[in-house]
Amino acid sequence: MGKNCTLGELLIDQLARTVEDDTLVFHGFGSPLVQIALHVAKRVYTPNLVLVAGATYGVNPDPPFIAPTTNDWVHDRNSECHLSIGELFDLSASGRLGRMFLSGLQIDRWGNTNVTQLGRKTLKLKLPGGGGACNLSCNAKNITLWTAAHRSEPVKGKRRYRIVSQCDYVTGFGHKNADGITRRQLGYLGNGPQCLVTDLGVFDFDQDGHLRLNVLYPHTTVDDVLENTEFEPRMKKEVKTVSLPSLEVLSIIRKLDPLRIHEKELSPGDRSLTLEEPKNAAIC
């Protein structure tokens, strides 16, 4: 076959595969991997998806290309109808958002996310903020977490981990916070994070709500994961290697994103990676 793909394309496919059909999904701004993944899902895996685009709130748009900024009319092309911002968030608050995709500059073992600030007591770095992540994290029925910056190269001998023991600030609620309060105790409608797709592998959350390595990529190892994670993630009994996206999926991605906007989420080194299908492939 000789089926090759880039890491970005693999991540898009993995994100797309987390969606269920006949559900309402939403992507926020600043997340082209997810944006493209939802278009892939709608066209390949889950045709009855209700796809609501972040920023424009168009329903089932069919954009001619992906632009570097989310709130652009190009992303609204061919939408069949529109929601208002309040309406989309109301749908989530009433338990009708099937899945939300959240990321963070920090993602912790319980699936909490931080896009607000680094530094717990004293501010070290002000992050842009979470938009509606906090609200959606509570009530979206299911959550897919993702980051393309799991790999954290040491700077002056110190790593700034992306996947951390505990978030400095909980912007999006995971399975429980540092006080041990669970989402069940808070009465939330959502099931919380179900999986985490990173540049090193795909994780799920075990019964305790703790991060657990599930699948690796052709080019990554358990050691990569251990080295780049602040704590020791739990492991599935058998950690398989992922299968690459189909030619159909690849062709959709390449046609939809000629500007390769989605690669802006990847580290420069990861952009040039070419992956080949391994022998023992599995699906997240």
Binding site: A67, T69, T70, D76, I85, G129, C134
Partner: protein, 281 residues
């Protein structure tokens, strides 16, 4: 973010040396960052200020927050919506499903947990938000002040309904008949305090169908902002805000008619549209 931000209004606010502002909104970028770069902001209740994955962090905003000049009171999109709805509905508070358990709850003593008189379950309530001023850029207005926003209005409608004063700039003032032909007003005139015609008043953000986002100008902005607070003033604010005594002068400095033609070329074809968003090499 990169669309329909009231940039001409913001430049005018800065030129008028307004400062000590508390800014509040959902997803923003260059608008808030510009105000921060001019030291006009003393507190932020924004839910997001940044340039997405394209240019990343908002440097002026980040610096202002980290130096302590700007008090950080981050909010979330839906919390903001519910607070505006409380104000619009004249309510002392609005319940909201979410926020509890996150650090927003801890950092906002004004959020309270009460019991539902039905099930006894706990629920968060948030206080009303009534901004002193809302600033909006729309595509059209009529002379009576009815506004028509095309494309996603995002939170603008709620802000117009909740705020004490509403200032609006528009691309074009038309007759009420023309406004109706275009699809009708979505912000009735009686909410709107003042309007002004400011063609390209959202530049460098987009105002479709008139013009697309000026990524090129934004790149120039970002490189000045990245250099630091003083460099930003010298390399951007001076040229594009302080020394522009009028909106016309600003339009001249950003390239005048050539720039307008370039940014309205998106209509011609998908390729032309895409061309605007290619990385400069």
């Amino acid at each position: 973010m990169s669309s329909r931000e009231p940039m001409a209004l913001i430049r005018s606010i800065i030129r008028n040396r307004v400062n000590g502002l508390t800014v509040v909104g959902s997803a923003h970028g260059i608008d808030i960052d510009l105000l921060c770069g001019a030291n006009a902001v003393s507190a932020s209740q924004e839910s997001y200020v940044g340039f997405e994955q394209d240019f990343g962090m908002a440097h002026n905003y980040r610096r202002g927050c980290e130096s302590g000049e700007i008090e950080i009171q981050d909010n979330c999109c839906y919390t903001l919506v519910q607070q505006l709805r409380a104000s619009i509905q004249g309510l002392p508070f609005m319940p909201i499903q979410s926020v509890r358990g996150t650090d927003f709850e801890k950092n906002h003593p004004s959020y309270k947990t009460i019991q539902s008189p039905y099930s006894g379950e706990d629920i968060l309530v948030v206080p009303p938000l009534t901004p002193d001023v809302a600033i909006i850029h729309a595509q059209y207005a009529d002379l009576h002040g009815n506004l028509r926003i095309e494309g996603p209005p995002v939170v603008d409608l709620l802000f117009a309904q909740a705020s004490r004063t509403v200032l609006a700039t528009v691309e074009k003032i038309v007759t009420n008949e023309e406004l109706k032909r275009l699809g009708g007003a979505n912000i009735p005139y009686f909410y709107v305090s003042y309007i002004a015609e400011a063609p390209m008043g959202a530049h460098p953000t987009a105002c479709y169908p008139f013009y697309a986002y000026d990524r090129e100008h934004t790149e120039l902005y970002m490189s000045a902002a990245k250099e630091g607070s003083t460099a930003f003033k010298k390399k951007y604010l001076k040229d594009f805000v302080y020394e522009c005594e009028s909106h016309e002068e600003y339009l001249h400095r950003i390239g005048g008619e050539d720039t307008r033609v370039r940014l309205s070329s998106w209509k011609e074809s998908t390729d032309a549209w895409m061309e605007l968003y290619k990385e400069s090499t």
